[in-house]
Structure formats: structure tokens, C-alpha cells
Amino acid sequence: ISLSRNHVLVCFLLQVLICRNYKGDVDMSEIDHFMPLLMQHEEEGLLCPVMSHGNVHFMWIKHSNLYLVATTNKNSNASLVYAFLYKLVEVFTEYFKELEEESIQDNFVVVYELLDELMDFGFPQTTDSKILQEYITQEGAKLEVAKSKVPTTVTNAVSWRSEGIKYKKNEVFIDVIESINVLVNANGSVMSSDIVGSIKLKTMLSGMPELRLGLNDRVLFGLTGRDKGKTVMMEDVKFHQCVRLSRFESDRTISFIPPDGESELMSYRINTHVKPLIWIESVIEKFSHSRVEIMVKAKGQFKKQSVANNVEVRVPVPSDADSPKFKTSTGNAKYVPEKNLVVWTIKSFPGGKEFLMRAHFGLPSVENEEAESKPPITVKFEIPYFTVSGIQVRYMKIIEKSGYQALPWVRYITQSGDYQLRTNV
């Protein structure tokens, strides 16, 4: 019902690295139960992001080899806790490049300062790292002056952009990136497919500019009664906090004051059934005690003018396979034994083309006792200058009171997201 009650925030690796008790109601020694508890859950195969010991709950995430753990003894808002933990990772990464054991030890003073500023009594406060960097700095001693006042941004309605930013040349770079998620059954039927799009900005604009982004959004065109060209139906849209959500809700206008530098302005999900851009047909035959024969056919199901780059088809092989032999009609195949994969790489894959890869592995005569899991074939690729949904940036209006001219640049790219094809073996 209420907020994160008590967070002892802890990042640690086998031993507690650093912690911060935001409220006094959970004993700091409780954290000693975390690691054994984690091991126990792991052993039972019942890993869970929430674990309890007595009346203390541990909510944790893992980042490289660090565990970030929040403890609470109340009924907390769990999504807030996880969102905050991920925010921590984000802030620390922006501060220290890498979030790891070493960087925390090297900067423990700043880490303490940040923890102090990020959350108070279990309530997350200012978590925008760009703004934080204005008053919590790594070379504290040198910047005494800057630190002596609170940036107004901290408490402003516009809490993501500072005043007084200056650029010689005012530009905005817009990247429209669409990821294709596909799940295909072993018999070749597409179980689910969707497009997750993301519009990223690199803003290099002076002052406090007002931006408006125009897309070929079907709902917008429906509202305004316009009907020209192709429109896109976005199933769901998520915005950076800079976008005025109520404005979008009422008239589908995407208006905002952008954060400086790089940011993700929005993401969207499109449900329309897309033809998998790279279609894989595979025949994997396993002859127990002797060999595995793999035949994979990849077909580019997109426009002839487009080219998919850096295509990787990852085909699982049994963990006890040996002596690989490959034959490919293009690109090259490599055996990655530590991942039990054959990775077939095609640097450039034109639309409409079809390629073939054959692989042959030996199997030991003594069979592996353990049952093997059945990982799917996965595919990675990117197709530049093209969005599969047909989404387009129609305009980007930039208005600043000083009246400068600014240039928007747009790039489109389509890439593989979670692209899985189940196999029979």
C-alpha cells in the first residue's frame, strides 16, 4: 500500500560491499541471510526476485557480478523497488562508466553521496544522472563553488534539463530503431511476432527548446481526418518523462522539452503480424552414438533493394558434439563449443536471396547421460534505411525563444529482437 518501507540498499559480492540503511526498521545484519538464501533457491531451481527470511524481504537484481539488494519488512510497492534498483545501475554506470566492485570501492564517497541524494527514507528522489552531476561531482574538492547551490532543475517541473545550455550548431539526431520479436514453432508456424520500436534522440540544442515530433500515426490521422499515404497503428506507446502525456492523450501531439544529449524519447509496440524478415528452415538429424547432420536454409523475406548486415544464425548443437565440418553457400560458419552453437555469419544478405549451410558433427559412442535442453535457433541482423512497420518521422519542429535555426536528422534501422525458431531436436 505504501512505499518502499525500508531499504537497506546493498551492492555486494560475496561480502557486503556497501550499504545504506534508509530507515531504521531492518537490522543491517539481516543482509547476511541473503547469500545463503540465494544459494538455496538456486539449488532448488526456484530462483525468484523476491526472497524472504523471517519477516524481512529481499528484492534483488544482478548486474554483472554484483547483486543489488533492497530489503524491506513491509508490504512495499515492488515495481517501484525494482525500477529504482535499475535506476541505480543506470546512474552509477553513467558516473563510473562501469558498475563493478572496483568502481564502487574507488568512489565510495561519491557512492554514499549519491545514495543519500537518490533516496530519502525509502522514497526515491532525484534520479536523473545528468542533473545529479551538476551538484554531486567526482572531484568534489575542485568544484566547491558549483556545489554550493542547488540546481533549480532538481525541484523544477522540468527536472531533466538544465538551463543555460549552449551549442554553436543546433542539431537533433533522431534514430528510429525497430526490433522484430518472433517466436516460430518447430513445425514452422509463427506463434507470436511483434515489433518494438524506439525513437532515440541526440539533442544538441541551446536553451530551452520546445520540440514537436510528427509521425504517421494512424490514430492522429484519424483524429485530424487526414488521409494520405501509409499510416502506422501503434498498439502501445511509452514516453520519456519529458513528453506531455496528457497532451498526447487528448490530441496525440508529441510535444516536449528534450533532455540534453542522448535519450530515448519514446518506444512503441506494434502488434501487426509481420512476415519474419529472415526465414529459417532447418533439418537437424541426430543419429545417436554417431553423428548430427544440420541443414539450415536462410531466406531474406524483405525488399530486394534492402540489405541485411551482420546476419548471424545461431544453431544449437548437442554439448558432446565434436569434429565439426561445415559447408556454406555464403558467409562462414564457426563452432562455438562453450555455447554449444554453430554461428553462421553472413556479412551482407540482400533481400529475396536464399542461402544454405550444412554442418556435420560427430557424436561420441557413449551417450551423454543428462537430458539436453532444446534451445531454439536464434537470428541476429540489422537492416539499415528501413523500418518494417513503415513508420516515418514526418517533421520535427524546434522552437526556441532566441529563434535559432536547428536541423533535425533522421536515421532508420530495423534489427532482430528476440528472434527464436524452435527446433525438433
Partner: protein
């Protein structure tokens, strides 16, 4: 810890690196003294270095509390970084050195008036974290000032400090009037301050559940909604969580709040989205369902929920847990989104299991084929827990979607063929559940199950198999051998298996008393004399006594017992509820049976046999699957959703108990009223001049005017074009006008209930009569009545409430599709044990007319033959609750006396489907 710090200096070359980690190197002996000296140094830089070293030692868990006075001495500095470090130290050690902590108070008070707002905020923030009573008194004045500070950064920090102080000394906060100041901050011009004030107030309100602290009214709500648009993502969450506690006055206010909250569904922060969903789910309750906006809102909820599934796994997990609740409350929101819950290979196990659960909840006839194909795929994975759950899921599908049961069974059989041990065991447990839900339907698979008997080593699977053998003992030739084989190691079995074995053998004995006398003796003596387990002993004694002292019970047709046990499938004896296996509960939760009160069966042994369904597993831990995933006292969306979902959650005993009850509620004494009904049918018409169609008796007086202050009710029952009707004449024999009629039925054997209100639209004047037809349905609560066809009715009018009871003809319950295929009829006829048979004499009936006329009453003639000069009619009928009755009627030539030779009831609702 010391090693860790030492190791640190060994492993790294610090010389070149000017980082904080160098401070960790100084933890060596005698170092406290060194530090003390450095802390008292005149040089600022040296002081600062020393404090850093102290903090470093503190971080690695070393006790540096001895340095308290020295560190506090460093507090008065204008170096912000140093000040922060000292404050950090204070927070850690003030509690262990309360007297010394007072030393710091002066500086705190001074810092609260510092021109630098950062320092003012820091001081007020830190003071709140020092949980020492003596200090709190000094905190009040500075806090009061900071709450009214000109800088919003200080105000927002002070707002939180009120909550901190309240946690330490609630009375003080109230006495000082801080709560009112905090409430004023809700109207602050700065959204961050509003958000923190809301957060602090919610926090305080939580510890005073009854105080109307938040005092939410339309004005404050409006302020909150305005701040919602402007504050940070976290502030939005505080405000949304607070809004969720508000109860709007009417549906219009509810709608306007919803309209202003919906834009939050587009926020990039998943936690904001989930909090918004929580608010919307709650306020949606207030909206009338026919409102256009209600539909719009429903549609808006699905896409953001689906998008949450591409968040980080932990957030996905929280989202899934909440979706699970939402799906139970409003399945329509996500009914078309089944595919997004399909499990991906790389999902973490907790996400997989949660998705699986939601898939079952969303399973319906429309998507069941797809779901089953997926589940089968999962069941061939290698992750044992996941596979087990997938197999269970197949069983739950069978129970939830009746049409899919056959497919599920064949999928399970395929899986059994894989011979993967844990898959087989899981499948058998699940098939037992399917058998319970659809008795006598799939027993053709029993042979396959028996083949795997030896491979079962898990108690649950063994118990399930034993149950199956006992239940279907009459169809398994070597049932006695199979059960006997378990007896050998009786004492090594788990309680669950022992109890099951005991019950199964008693069942077997009732079915085949002659051959199994010895076996039952053996198990009873094992259970009662050689066992230390009180549950087992008690049950053994009860069976024993019943079998030996109640010859009547023992001689009763065995089916009666079996039926009894089916009828009350999930009835729980008091005390066994808490130990009930979660799996059963979940299976029950997915079944669509309406919550119904279980008929109280008169048959004690029947009830007892049924104990085996809920073994008192007081020993042993709960199954691991649930313990791992259970959230314990904490639910993920802060307790809100589940409470607003209220009693509708599945798995609650009330719903569980209703599982499968109505159709199976068939009492043993059924034959009597049937004969009565038939008698009526035959008696009356004489076969001449009766119009085709259902027979209906003339009205009789049910409620004499004398007993009902002048209201006389006479009536009858009829079945007209498939609808059961209660036809009544209401007569007003009083002196005054009667109005406001209403009718209600008590629970009855077939769940009869009014399908609509009693339609008496005009007031009934004195001496006036009115004809009323009340359509009935059979979905009401079930309770066995004596006689079976008794119906207790309450009629209310403006004068009083009156009660009467009447009896309805059983023929009214014969449904239109009661005609059985000839083949099925023959097969079934043979299968029915002779004990389930009853004979009646019927007088004065004409054969030729009988067949047609009976058909009019939904009694269908299946076949006719003549043997030894006797005409024989074979007939079938089906009752509303799915029970079939098969009859044979003999007609002696030239003698108008007819004998219903065989009146049989069997339990299979869907016998026809099987063949």
C-alpha cells in the same frame, strides 16, 4: 572484513591511482590512534583524509565508534564533502553513543540556518535519521523552519523528515502540529514538494489505519492530479498509490479521475504504469458497465500490460503477478492476448512459471488447441519444475475447458509414453484429477496407467494411482492384487499413501465383498494396530466400526458410496482445510463451477471415503513449487490489487468447495420420487385425448389463505419448450390490497431457482386472483431434500413473508436431449450393476399412447421388443444435472399392468460423447 581490506591493498597498486580505495589500506593495528591524531589535526586536508579513512573502515564493517567525539569535532566545517561524511558517520553511530550525539545538536541547528540550501537540507535530512530520542526534541524548531523554507529543495526534504520523526516519536509530531503543516504542503506550488508530502503522509497514515489523516476530498484530489502531470516519475508513483486509497463519491468523479490517470499508462517507467493500472482497476469498479467510457477504458488497459512483458525480468515478474490477479478479476481485458504469455526459452524460471499460470487462466475453448500444443512443447523441456508445472497445467486445462478434456487426456497419454519418470508421475496425479471431474469417462486409459505402477516413487503419484484403482476397482480385474502389492511396504509409505490405500481397499471391499474380505481385514489391522499415526488409526477405526456394526450401510449398493464420495468431492472436514494441497485448490479454482453449498449427504461412509481427497497432510512441508513463489505477507503491488479484487480470487476454499458439486449431487434414494413421477404420468392421461407435450399436473393449493394472512397460492409445475415453469394462482382473500410480491427458494436437490423476479406488476385487490408464471433454472444452490423433490418456497408481500413447501414432478427435470444412442444404451445397460435397480408397478396405462406421450415429457423410447408375449420398452431420460435414467418397461399382453423393471441412474453426463 579486515582481510578483505588488506587483500585490497595487496591486489592493487595504489601508488599510481589516486582513488578513494586508498583509504581502505590504513586498516591496521594501532590505527585508531593514528586516526585520532589525524582527525584532530589543524590541517583541513588532513582532517578530511582522516574522515574518509574512518568511513572506509566503517564501510568494511570495522567498529570505529571509539572515534565519535573526534569525528563530531570535524563537523563544523564549510567543506560540504567533509560535512557529508561526518553526517554519514553520525547516522551510523549516534544510536550507540546517544549521549555523545547531543554534542552534534548545536551544529545541526546551526546548519539548518545556513545560507546554502544544500546544507540546510542535508542537516534536516540527517537529523531525521538519527534515531535518538534526546535529539528529536531539538529537531522540532529547525524542522518547523525548514518546512516553510523558501527553497523547494529544503521543503521537500523537510516533508520526508516529518515521516522520519513520526517513526521515532509519533506523539511529538502530533503535538507539534507537524501533520497540519504537512497537509498544507499538499497545496505547495512545487510538484516535488507535493509528491514528498503525499509520500510522507501516506507513510504516517499507514501506522494509523483509522485516522483520517489524508483527508482526501475532491479538492485535494484535484491538487494531486495537477501535481501528477508535473512531478518526477517517483513522485507520480507516490501520488498514484495515494489516489488508490481514495473512494470517489460517484461514478462521474470516478470517471474524471480515470481520465486524468490514463495518460500515465504511456510512461516509460514500468512502476508508474503499474501504479496507474492499480488506480484504474479500482475506480473502474465504480463505473456502470454499460457506459461507453467503461469499454474504452477496458481497451486501454491491455496494451500497456502487454508492453510490461518486455521490461526487465524482475519487473516482468511483478507485472505478471499483477496480471494474474487482473485476469482473475477481469478476464476480458486480456482474453485475446494469449500469445504474449507463451514462454520463451531464455525467460527466467520465475517468469516461465508465472506465464504458465496465466496461460491456464486465459485458456478457453477458443484458444485451447494452441495452449495445449504449447504445454506439450514445455513438457518435453529439461527443467524439472517447469515440466512438472506444464503437465499439471494440461490437467487444469482439462478441468477448466470441458471440451478439451479428451485432447488433454490423449496429450497426457503421449507424455506417459515418453517414460520420463517425473513426467509420468505428474501425469498420473493430473489424470486422477480429471477422473474426478469427469467420472467414468476416460477409464479406458486405466490399463496404460497400471503399466506404470512400478515406476511411481513419489507419494503423491502413488496415492493418485491408488485412488484410481480403488475408484475403478470394478473395472480392473486385478484391483485386489494391485492394492495388495502396496500393502507389503505399508509402514514405509507416507501418510498420504497409507490413508489412500486404506480408503481404496475399503472401496474395493464394498464393490467386491466376497473376494476381498481378507484384504480389508489386513489393511484395517495395519492401520489401527500397527500404526502410530493418529489420523490413520482414527480413520481405520471408523471404517472398521462402520463395516462391522452397520450391516445396512455395508449392504447398500456400492455405487451409493461411490456416488456419495463424488457428490462431495471437495468437501472439507473442518480442520483439514488448512492442510489442503494447494494443487487441488488451484484445480478447483479454474473450474467454472459456481460456488455452491455442498449437499449434506446422509451417508456417513460416503463422506468418510471422501476424506482421502483431502488427506490431512499435517506432516511434511508444502510442495516446493508454491513455497518458492509465494510472496508471503507481501504482495507485489503494495497490497492494493488483491484487496480490491476481494473475494473473487480463486483458490479460496469457498470456490474450491464448489468444485463439481451440483451435477454430482445425486442421492441414493433417488428411485422413489422417480417412480412417483412416473406413476403420475401414467395415471393421469389414460392415453386418450391428451395433447402432445409435457404433462403438467393440475394446480393444488400450496399455501392456504388461513396460513398466510389472506394470501392463497395454488400452483403446479410444467416444462414448456425446454423451460421449467412454476405456474401459480395468487388469490387475495384478505380485506386489503397486496403489493410488493417477491419469491425465493430454499436450496434444493436440483438447484432450482427463479430465473427472474416474480412478475406481479399490479397490486392485488381483495378477492382478486392473478395467474403468474415463473420461469425457473437449475443453477441455484444444491442441497438434498427429503423427499428429494421437495421445494421450500418463501413468498413475500407487503404484509409479511410466508413459507410453504411443495413437490415438483421429477419429469419436469427431464431434458430434451435425453435420447440415448441405441448402442450406448445397450453398453451402459450392461454396465450398470444390478444393485442400482428398482422396480415399480404402474396401473392403468395404454402402451400405444405411452411411448408418444412419454416422449412429450422427454422420456425417450430407445428400443422395443417382445419376449414371451411381453412387450418391452426401453427408455432413457436425462435430468437437468446430467444424470441419465434408463428404464425397461414390461407390458403383459392383455393385462394393463406395466412394470418398470429397471430404473437405473448412472452418473455420466457425457456418456454419448465417449462412444
Amino acid at each position: 572484513m579486515q582481510e578483505w581490506a588488506n587483500q585490497l591493498c595487496e591486489n592493487r597498486q595504489f601508488g599510481s591511482k589516486m582513488t578513494d580505495s586508498k583509504y581502505f589500506t590504513t586498516t591496521k593495528k594501532g590505527e585508531i590512534f593514528e586516526l585520532k591524531a589525524e582527525l584532530n589535526s589543524d590541517k583541513k586536508e588532513k582532517k578530511k583524509e582522516a574522515v574518509k579513512k574512518v568511513i572506509a573502515s566503517m564501510t568494511v564493517g570495522k567498529d570505529v565508534s571509539a572515534l565519535f567525539p573526534d569525528v563530531v569535532n570535524c563537523m563544523q566545517t564549510d567543506n560540504l564533502e567533509l560535512k557529508k561524511l561526518v553526517y554519514l558517520y553520525l547516522m551510523n553511530y549516534a544510536k550507540s553513543q546517544p549521549d555523545m550525539a547531543i554534542m552534534a545538536v548545536n551544529t545541526f541547528v546551526k546548519d539548518c540556518e545556513d545560507p546554502n540550501p544544500l546544507i540546510r537540507a542535508l542537516a534536516v535530512r540527517t537529523m531525521g535519521c538519527i534515531r535518538v530520542d534526546k535529539i528529536t526534541e531539538y529537531l522540532c524548531e529547525p524542522l518547523r523552519k525548514c518546512l516553510k523554507d523558501e527553497d523547494p529543495y529544503v521543503r521537500k526534504t523537510a516533508a520526508v523528515c516529518v515521516a522520519k520523526l513520526h517513526d521515532i516519536n509519533a506523539q511529538l509530531v502530533e503535538d507539534q502540529g507537524f501533520l497540519d503543516t504537512l497537509k498544507d504542503l499538499i497545496s505547495d506550488s512545487n510538484p516535488m514538494v507535493v509528491a514528498n508530502a503525499v509520500a510522507a503522509l501516506s507513510e504516517i497514515a499507514e501506522s494509523h489505519p483509522n485516522s483520517n489523516l489524508m483527508d482526501l476530498n475532491p479538492q485535494t484530489i484535484n491538487k494531486l492530479l495537477t501535481a501528477l502531470n508535473e512531478c518526477t516519475e517517483w513522485g507520480q508513483i507516490f501520488i498514484l498509490d495515494c489516489l488508490a486509497n481514495y473512494t470517489p463519491r460517484d461514478d462521474r468523479e470516478s470517471q474524471s479521475i480515470c481520465e486524468r490517470v490514463t495518460p500515465r499508462l504511456s510512461h516509460a517507467n514500468s512502476a508508474v504504469v503499474l501504479s496507474a493500472v492499480k488506480v484504474l482497476m479500482k475506480f473502474m469498479e465504480m463505473l456502470p458497465k454499460d457506459l461507453d467510457y467503461y469499454g474504452t477504458l477496458l481497451k486501454k488497459l491491455a496494451p500497456p500490460l502487454v508492453t510490461l512483458l518486455s521490461a526487465e525480468p524482475e519487473l516482468q515478474y511483478v507485472a505478471l503477478r499483477n496480471i494474474n490477479l487482473i485476469v482473475q478479476r477481469r478476464p476480458e481485458i486480456l482474453k485475446h492476448e494469449m500469445k504474449v504469455f507463451f514462454v520463451k526459452y531464455n525467460d527466467p524460471i520465475y517468469v516461465k512459471l508465472e506465464k504458465l499460470d496465466i496461460m491456464i487462466r486465459l485458456a478457453s475453448q477458443a484458444n485451447i488447441a494452441q495452449v495445449l500444443a504449447e504445454l506439450k512443447e514445455y513438457a518435453t523441456e529439461v527443467d524439472v519444475d517447469f515440466v512438472r508445472k506444464a503437465v499439471r497445467a494440461i490437467g487444469r486445462c482439462a478441468i477448466k475447458v470441458e471440451q478439451s478434456a479428451e485432447r488433454c487426456v490423449s496429450t497426457l497419454l503421449d507424455l506417459i509414453q515418453t517414460k520420463v519418470n517425473y513426467v509420468v508421475q505428474e501425469a498420473i496425479v493430473v489424470i486422477k484429477d480429471i477422473f474426478r471431474k469427469y467420472p467414468n469417462k476416460y477409464e479406458s486409459v486405466i490399463a496404460t496407467l497400471c503399466e506404470n505402477l512400478d515406476s511411481l516413487d513419489e507419494p503423491e503419484a502413488r496415492a493418485a494411482m491408488i485412488w484410481i484403482v480403488g475408484e475403478y476397482a470394478e473395472r480392473i480385474d486385478n484391483a485386489d492384487e494391485l492394492l495388495e502389492s502396496f500393502l507389503e511396504g505399508f509402514h514405509d509409505e507416507s501418510t498420504q499413501v497409507q490413508l489412500q490405500l486404506l480408503t481404496a481397499i475399503v472401496k474395493l471391499f464394498l464393490k467386491k465383498p466376497t473376494e476381498t474380505q481378507e484384504l480389508v481385514q489386513q489393511v484395517l489391522s495395519l492401520a489401527t494396530q500397527d500404526s502410530d499415526n493418529p489420523d490413520l488409526r482414527d480413520r481405520g477405526y471408523i471404517y472398521w466400526r462402520l463395516l462391522s456394526t452397520d450391516p445396512v450401510a455395508a449392504k447398500e449398493p456400492p455405487s451409493a458410496f461411490v456416488e456419495g464420495s463424488r457428490g462431495v468431492q471437495h468437501k472439507r472436514l473442518p480442520g483439514s482445510t488448512e492442510s489442503e494441497s494447494p494443487d487441488t485448490a488451484s484445480a478447483a479454482a479454474v473450474s467454472d463451477a459456481p460456488p455452491a453449498v455442498i449437499p449434506s449427504q446422509g451417508d456417513l461412509l460416503g463422506d468418510l471415503l471422501n476424506l482421502d481427497l483431502t488427506p490431512p497432510t499435517t506432516t511434511g512441508p508444502p510442495p516446493p513449487a508454491s513455497s518458492g513463489m509465494q510472496m508471503g505477507a507481501m504482495d507485489l503491488l503494495g497490497g492494493g490489487l488483491d484487496s480490491l479484487l476481494g473475494g473473487d480470487l480463486g483458490g479460496s476454499p469457498a470456490i474450491g468447495a464448489g468444485f463439481g458439486a451440483p451435477p454430482a449431487a445425486m442421492p441414493a434414494s433417488f428411485s422413489a420420487p422417480v417412480s412417483g413421477g412416473l406413476d403420475d404420468l401414467f395415471d393421469l392421461g389414460g392415453g386418450v385425448g391428451m395433447p402432445m407435450g409435457a404433462y403438467s399436473a393440475p394446480k393444488t393449493v400450496w399455501l392456504p389463505a388461513l396460513k398466510a394472512k389472506g394470501l392463497e397460492i395454488s400452483g403446479t409445475f410444467a416444462r414448456r419448450s425446454g423451460v421449467i415453469q412454476m405456474e401459480m394462482t395468487l388469490t387475495n382473500k384478505a380485506m386489503s390490497v397486496m403489493t410488493d410480491f417477491a419469491i425465493q427458494f430454499n436450496r434444493n436437490s436440483f438447484g432450482l431457482a427463479p430465473a427472474g423476479p416474480l412478475q406481479v406488476l399490479t397490486p392485488l385487490s381483495p378477492n382478486q386472483s392473478i395467474e403468474v408464471t415463473l420461469p425457473l433454472n437449475t443453477v441455484g444452490p444444491v442441497m438434498k431434500m427429503e423427499p428429494l423433490n421437495n421445494l421450500q418456497v418463501a413468498v413475500k408481500n407487503n404484509i409479511d413473508v410466508f413459507y410453504f413447501s411443495c413437490q415438483y414432478p421429477i419429469s419436469m427435470l427431464f431434458v430434451e436431449d435425453g435420447k440415448m444412442e441405441r448402442q450406448v444404451f445397450l453398453a451402459t445397460w450392461k454396465d450398470i450393476p444390478n444393485d442400482s435397480e428398482a422396480q415399480f408397478q404402474i396401473k392403468d396405462c395404454h402402451l400405444n399412447a405411452a411411448s408418444n406421450k412419454l416422449q412429450g415429457s422427454n422420456i425417450f423410447t430407445i428400443a422395443k421388443r417382445t419376449v414371451d408375449g411381453q412387450d418391452m420398452l426401453y427408455q432413457s431420460m436425462k435430468l437437468t444435472n446430467g444424470i441419465w435414467v434408463l428404464t425397461e418397461m414390461r407390458v403383459q399382453a392383455g393385462n394393463p399392468v406395466y412394470t418398470v423393471k429397471k430404473c437405473v441412474y448412472i452418473y455420466i453426463a457425457n456418456m454419448v460423447d465417449r462412444i
